[in-house]
């Protein structure tokens, strides 16, 4: 959330570069003073902990601490990338993250536009409220609902599909690796679409109504108004959110995969976070876990940079 706010703020203040001089500093000292606590916050909670990354180059033992653990160089990284399990978790994380990003964005935009076309304000508010409620449910509850929906006895999916004669026998959905990513994606969609559409809805309301009026006079129908006014108006918002979310692709999640996963699908269900938990915490190899975490952070930063570069090259809004 914090990232979002920062990102949007930046786009608003974007303008020609100003030279920093004494006068400017003096004029803006209130702003600077207000900013200092946040800078301190960021240093203490975001940058100082990075010191712990040193663990990845040691054979870290809590008893010996950071100062006395044995230094092993890149050994942990070698083990990490020699481990088939970890390579699979990279693939899983990336694929599930990408699926979430694509379907999440498309659905949120589509939903926001549909909602915007609602004919009564009251109805629109009711639908909006209902649609973002699942966001406040914890994953424990959502996965519980998933288990029920996908269950073999009386699960609604199996009941409906068997009733429509699409499948003959109930399917054990969670036992097949090929379905797992889709189950995760749909759970995410169910939970987050309403919530994610809020920001697009806000962007739509800020589009100048005169444009719609002018289009109506020119004889534009609903669809062409959406296509020629709403979507172009949303473009900057979409780009910024896309860039930021690309950086989040590797944060494909932890809870949902951890809770829905089982032995049969673990080759597709385990994400980097689960790997860190399993090998880093449970099996007591903190260094390996740290190494996996570093890998994830570095890739995420690279992804953001690439997306940003791409957006800039295409002449669109960009973060930095």
């Amino acid at each position: 959330m914090k990232d979002n706010a920062a990102g949007l703020g930046q786009t608003l203040t974007k303008g020609p570069r100003t030279l920093i001089n004494k006068k400017l500093l003096k004029n803006q000292r209130t702003l600077i003073l207000m900013g200092i606590p946040f800078a301190i916050y960021a240093i203490i909670f975001c940058y100082v902990p990075l010191f712990g990354w040193i663990m990845a180059f040691q054979n870290y033992k809590p008893k010996d601490g950071l100062w006395h653990s044995k230094f092993v160089g890149l050994l942990k990284f070698k083990r990490l990338f020699g481990d088939d399990v970890f390579l699979k978790t990279i693939r899983n994380t990336f694929c599930m993250g990408a699926m979430n990003l694509v379907f999440g964005t498309v659905c949120a935009i589509a939903f926001a536009i549909l909602l915007n076309e609602f004919w009564t304000v009251k109805g629109k508010k009711v639908v909006q409220t209902i649609s973002y409620l699942p966001h406040f449910l914890s994953w424990i509850i959502v996965t519980g609902i998933c288990f029920d929906v996908l269950s073999m006895d009386n699960g609604i999916i199996n009941e409906v599909l068997v009733g429509l004669h699409i499948i003959k026998e109930p399917v054990i959905w969670l036992a097949h690796p090929k379905y797992f990513w889709w189950i995760v994606t749909f759970s995410n969609l169910w939970k987050e679409t309403g919530w994610n559409s809020i920001i697009y809805l806000a962007a739509i309301t800020s589009i100048n109504p005169d444009l719609y009026e002018a289009a109506s006079i020119d004889g534009a129908g609903r669809l062409s108004k959406i296509w020629h006014i709403t979507l172009p108006g949303l473009k900057p918002t979409i780009m910024i959110l896309l860039i930021m979310n690309i950086g989040n692709v590797l944060n494909a999640g932890f809870e949902v995969q951890y809770l829905l996963g089982n032995g049969l699908v673990q080759s597709v269900s385990q994400t980097i976070d689960i790997y860190v938990l399993k090998f880093g915490i449970s099996n007591g190899d903190y260094s390996l876990g740290t190494a996996a975490g570093i890998f994830k952070s570095v890739v995420s930063i690279a992804l953001i940079a690439i997306a940003n570069f791409g957006a800039k090259a295409a002449g669109e809004e960009s973060l930095f």
């Binding site: 008893k63 809870e255 032995g263 049969l264 976070d273 880093g280 915490i281 390996l288 975490g293």
Partner: protein
């Protein structure tokens, strides 16, 4: 970000569970010098405060001190508060639990106990270590070695002079086997200590379990082999597709395979071959060499059998996607005819069955083997398990108080309170001094709500099994032979009579003599960390087995499935590394036992 967030979530969960009031307040500090001001309990005060002249109001430990029991008698001001976390699932007692209060009044201390919820022991302990703050007492379960390595426990043997109940809990030789590499004692194994002689009535460990109603329907046959076991279940399911209510479909066989609990799927092969539960390997009794049980012919036959039963629909098709909670809730309906499990693992489910009054759906253990003639070894004598125990942590600010608390819990009067409850309320005393219970008392003792409100056994603090200190009664009701038999419900009694047994243990071969010196090897494998080569192999074995064993059982073509599994297993797990390390450990344990 998400990594940190999920860790934070775990940490939050753990600390909310485990730390009362201001236990998280200060950092470690030198243990022996305790004052009221930095008392770990955080609430009110300690005996140290009584000795000190300092006023108890001087409480800077942070957190809320609202726990202070205001409505208690005046003496409650002197009652110490400790915290304990057990890295095993359990039930949290209500605040103000009756027996807890009685004990607190008698010994001047009480302990708030919290349990594992929704995590594995290793995760919970790993997070605590990362945070460096602990409750006063911990039973870290499989995370014990991690905790000791992290320097989270105090060396108890440096402080324990004068606490004789505790010091004499185990013999000198037994304590020696508990000592860590540096010669100190960090954990106190709390179980398996017999007073006088063994009176065990229930088999708390692993076995093939089968419902009483299935045996009754089949005419109480003698069941020894895997084939016979499944034949009985198949026949029963064919004749009784639903439960007595005519609605709930019967389930032939469940295989729990959720996370670390997948032992229910994977470790039966060594039992089928007649070996005890060494957990990670078979140890050859003559050559003392470790054998990998995953690749034995017995293992293949066992999984082939499971595969057949799966195809026949006897095994619940959903079994491999189930979480532990779902498993327990299925068991609780009484519909599941049989499974392999540890009794402590499904005890909650069985309690629920009893609560429903479906005692014919409770389970008895069977010592199933692969072929006639193999001697089963499911039941091992109560053993000193040196890998688990309760520890006092470095976060404990009142070590003498903590030791006194454990010491007092071992005094005869308190032991009776812990194990039997309150005289007149939970048990009655006969003219001959024998304790007995009415039906209502027995029902109460099985009622979780009643237990939470009234009983407090401090179950993970040192306790005796066998006989009570009066030499007349058993240590606790479930060990009192007459009381135990009388407490059985009609269907179970009938079953016992049919097989000519009086206790659950008698369904299995009697555990003769003592355990082998290397037993149990799982206390070694549980403590492997993946930064060693054997630990990494061990972690990978779990990865492969966790994925491929369910696949093998569900495969349409068993041979192809098994070959694929063996291919993965041999290519991803360097089993020789693991066996060599195991052999070294076996030899080490034999040497220790021989006094070298």
């Amino acid at each position: 970000m998400s990594k940190r967030r999920s860790l934070a979530a775990f940490a939050a969960a753990v600390f909310v569970m485990s730390s009362l009031a201001g236990c998280g307040g200060g950092s470690t500090g030198t243990p022996a010098t305790t004052t009221a001001a930095n008392n770990a309990g955080g609430d009110t005060t300690t005996a140290a405060a009584a000795a000190d002249t300092q006023a108890p109001a001087n409480n800077d430990a942070g957190g809320d001190a609202t726990e202070a029991p205001a409505a208690e008698p005046a003496a409650s001001g002197d009652i110490k508060e400790f915290t304990a976390f057990y890295a095993v699932p359990g039930n949290e007692l209500n605040d103000g639990n009756d027996v807890e209060e009685i004990i607190a009044q008698k010994i001047g201390a009480r302990c708030k106990q919290t349990w594992l919820t929704g995590q594995t022991a290793d995760e919970a302990i790993g997070v605590m270590i990362a945070g460096g703050e602990y409750p006063d007492f911990i039973d870290a379960s499989t995370g014990s070695q991690q905790l000791i390595d992290a320097g989270g426990c105090i060396p108890i043997d440096e402080y324990w002079d004068g606490y004789d109940n505790l010091k004499n809990f185990w013999t000198e030789e037994q304590w020696n086997s508990v000592r860590a590499e540096d010669g100190h004692i960090y954990i106190i194994p709390q179980f398996g200590n017999r007073w006088m002689y063994d009176t065990e009535t229930t088999h708390n460990d692993e076995a093939f379990w089968i419902q009483v109603r299935v045996l009754e329907w089949a005419g109480y046959p003698k069941i020894t082999t895997l084939d016979q076991y499944f034949q009985v279940i198949e026949d029963y399911i064919a004749a009784n597709p639903t439960m007595a209510d005519g609605k709930t479909p019967n389930i032939g066989y469940e295989i729990l395979s959720d996370d670390w609990r997948y032992f229910c799927l994977e470790n039966a092969p060594f039992f089928l071959d007649g070996y005890p539960n060494d957990g990670c390997i078979i140890v050859d009794r003559d050559t003392h060499q470790a054998i990998d049980y995953n690749t034995t012919p017995t293992a293949k036959r066992y999984f082939q059998k499971l595969n057949e039963e799966y195809k026949k629909g006897i095994v619940d098709p959903e079994t491999f996607t189930m979480k532990y909670d779902q498993y327990i809730s299925k068991l609780s309906t009484g519909a599941v005819c049989g499974m392999v499990d540890q009794h402590w693992d499904f005890n909650d489910g069985e309690l629920a069955i009893k609560k429903l009054g479906l005692d014919e759906c409770t389970y008895v253990p069977l010592g199933i083997v692969i072929d006639e003639g193999v001697v089963e070894h499911y039941h091992s004598p109560a053993a000193l398990d040196v890998s688990n125990g309760v520890s006092i942590t470095t976060s404990c600010k009142d070590i003498p108080g903590a030791l006194k608390f454990m010491d007092d819990l071992l005094s005869p009067e308190i032991l009776t309170l812990r194990n039997w409850g309150v005289e007149g309320e939970d048990y009655l005393v006969g003219d001959d001094g024998l304790y007995y219970r009415t039906d209502e008392m027995r029902a109460n003792a099985n009622d979780q709500a009643y237990i939470n409100k009234h009983l407090c056994s401090y179950s993970y603090f040192p306790n005796y099994s066998g006989m009570d200190h009066d030499g007349i009664n058993a240590a606790s009701p479930q060990y009192q032979p007459k009381e135990f038999y009388d407490s059985l419900k009609e269907p179970v009694k009938k079953c016992f009579d049919a097989y000519g047994v009086e206790t659950y243990v008698q369904f299995l071969n009697k555990a003769e003599g003592t355990n082998e010196p290397w037993y149990p090897m799982w206390s070694w494998s549980n403590n492997l960390t993946s930064d060693t080569d054997e630990g990494f192999v061990w972690a990978n074995m779990a990865e492969v087995k966790h994925e491929y064993l369910p696949k093998v059982v569900m495969s349409d073509d068993f041979e192809a499935g098994w070959d694929e599994y063996m291919k993965q297993y041999s290519s991803r797990c360097d089993i020789d590394v693991f066996l060599n390390a195991a052999n070294a450990e076996i030899q080490r344990r034999i040497d220790v036992a021989n006094g070298n």
